[in-house]
């Protein structure tokens, strides 16, 4: 894995990103805009599971209508995040906050979208209150901890 990060650091793209004065700022801005989009879509699915909003629609409907937005937003986060890492791969490799963030991200991605996909594939609009509320709280905690770990990358 380390050699992969070293290879990435040696690419022209990575060198150009490091030398550019504005590249990192621009990529960071895209990361933030994508966060607002994906964060909003994910948050509102969890809010619906908790029964705190969009209650005029079934959970299945909300899961379906927010899915494309969540996927586009997360894809934009991954792409912009990749370029942020590419600007200093070896530095990120040794950053414990970055590693923690990646583990949490994989966990959140699998967990959240497994739940949202399952809800969107329901045959009927039935509600199962308690397990869904627990899932929503878990999802929110996971995404929130990713934000905290992400912010910590610049400080450790």
């Amino acid at each position: 894995m380390l050699s992969l990060f070293h290879w990435l650091a040696s690419t022209h793209m990575s060198i150009a990103l490091r030398d550019s004065q504005w590249a990192f700022a621009i990529i960071e801005i895209f990361h933030l805009l994508a966060l607002a989009l994906s964060g909003g879509a994910i948050l509102y699915f969890d809010i619906r599971l908790l029964g705190w909003g969009f209650t005029s629609q079934s959970e299945k409907q909300v899961a379906r209508s927010l899915m494309p937005l969540a996927i586009v937003g997360i894809a934009a986060m991954i792409v912009s995040g990749f370029f942020m890492v590419a600007s200093g791969p070896v530095r990120y490799y040794y950053n414990p906050a970055f590693r923690l963030k990646m583990y949490l991200f994989v966990a959140a991605l699998l967990f959240h979208f497994a739940v949202q996909w399952a809800v969107s594939r329901r045959r009927d609009d039935r509600q199962i209150a308690l397990p869904e509320r627990i899932a929503a709280v878990l999802s929110l905690l996971l995404w929130f901890s990713i934000g905290v770990a992400g912010r910590a990358i610049g400080f450790v």
Binding site: I29, L32, A36, G40, G53, Q61, F155
Partner: protein
């Protein structure tokens, strides 16, 4: 505006501002809460805008979505406003001269006018177009300007840290 500049310099000289600026943890924590506010506020606003433009939840009345997102929008606004004031106070003297900061303030005024005009005019007649496929052009214009302005605010806000 010398008066404003003096005020900013005075804010910067207060013990509170110095403590915030010099602290290891307080500033990044306030900054993180500010970003959490972005998700709540801009995420909510974007959902309503995307509905007005017909990209999501097309079969759901606009008024119901507006009602569902409004309390989270306000919660996000409160969080952003309080943390934004703290961040501004921590570096008030520098911010006064920061072009990105000035642009951000101007955009914030515009983005505040947008929902004001929207709610006082076209949203009053929401009952007549709540479920229609073609939303009145003034509502669509409001949605586009809201999306563009909020994106501009995020851009200008992030740039504050990059220009001196």
């Amino acid at each position: 505006m010398p008066a404003v500049q003096h005020f900013c310099e005075w804010v910067s000289s207060t013990g509170f501002s110095i403590a915030l600026r010099k602290s290891i943890w307080a500033f990044p924590i306030v900054e993180s809460l500010h970003v959490l506010g972005i998700v709540l506020l801009v995420g909510s606003v974007a959902l309503l805008d995307l509905r007005l433009l017909g990209y999501i939840m097309k079969h759901e009345p606009v008024s119901k979505i507006a009602h569902s997102v409004s309390r989270w929008t306000w919660a996000g606004f409160a969080l952003m406003f309080v943390t934004g004031l703290l961040l501004s106070a921590a570096e008030a003297a520098e911010n006064y001269f920061n072009l990105a900061f000035r642009i951000k303030l101007a955009l914030l005024v515009l983005v505040g006018l947008n929902p004001l005009i929207f709610h006082l005019t076209i949203f009053r007649s929401v009952n007549s177009w709540d479920l229609s496929n073609v939303i009145p052009w003034r509502a669509r214009a409001a949605a586009w300007s809201s999306l563009v302005l909020w994106a501009g605010i995020v851009v200008a806000g992030r740039m504050i840290a990059y220009i001196h």
